[in-house]
């Protein structure tokens, strides 16, 4: 069953995607599946292990399930300070 998700892209992911946010309908189970979308649709090359994800403003891991209506935030490698 397909889920409607809002995906938000940050920093270099936003540049890859050419947009900061999109709403998509996808057949996915986990946050990791959503990350694959970024690669398939937008040509991102960053390794998943170096990136991070949040679901509805809560940090999550790649195995976390996504549900219909979730907002998924895709974070490229951080570099604060």
């Amino acid at each position: 069953m397909s889920k409607t998700l809002t995906i938000r892209y940050f920093a270099i992911f936003r540049e890859h995607a050419g947009l900061s946010e999109e709403t998509v309908s996808l057949e996915v189970e986990t946050a990791g599946d959503v990350f694959e979308l970024l690669h398939a649709r937008h040509g991102a090359r960053e390794a998943q292990g170096q990136c991070k994800v949040a679901i509805n403003d809560q940090l999550a891991d790649w195995q976390s399930p996504v549900r219909d209506g979730d907002t998924v935030l895709l974070f490229p490698p951080v570099a604060g300070g």
Partner: protein, 154 residues
């Protein structure tokens, strides 16, 4: 003074004196602070300015978690951190951390702990703009080894 968040993001210049004043305590024997400044070079490139992108809701909640953890771990009196957002010029302060405690050992260790965790865990990215006109997002060199341990486990 109004209660400030212990972790905050700022779109204007950080004022270290003002931040320091929030940590004053009669029981404090030690104050340690750290600032990250924009330097004019990185990895052999001549840097002209930097742009910081911060996802504030999570930067603040994760920063609060780091600071609360440091206060417990090192028995601090007070601790705060503020991170800049937006375009910064050479010499500007990008991040400030300050702590107070009874003695200096805890103050040094906690200040170091907070800045290390902030750099690894907060959703903050920086884009460098070079003197030669190029630009690029800076990847955290150590993320490959830190991402799973620090972040995915939260």
């Amino acid at each position: 003074m109004a209660m400030l968040n212990r972790m905050s993001v700022a779109d204007q210049a950080i004022n270290p004196e003002e931040m320091r004043a929030t940590l004053v305590d009669r029981a404090a024997g030690a104050y340690a602070s750290f600032e990250g400044w924009i330097r004019d070079n990185n990895d052999g490139h001549q840097v002209q300015r930097l742009e910081y992108e911060v996802y504030a809701p999570l930067a603040i909640s994760e920063g609060e978690r780091i600071i609360e953890g440091a206060i417990q771990k090192y028995s601090l009196l007070h601790a705060r951190c503020v991170h800049r957002i937006g375009l910064l010029e050479i010499g500007e302060c990008a991040v400030w951390v300050g702590v107070t405690s009874g003695h200096r050992d805890e103050a040094f260790r906690a200040c170091r702990y907070i800045i290390d965790e902030v750099k690894h865990r907060l959703p903050i990215w920086k884009k460098e703009f070079y003197v030669n006109g190029d630009s690029g997002w800076v990847n955290c060199e150590r993320c490959a080894t830190h991402a799973r341990g620090d972040f995915a486990s939260v």
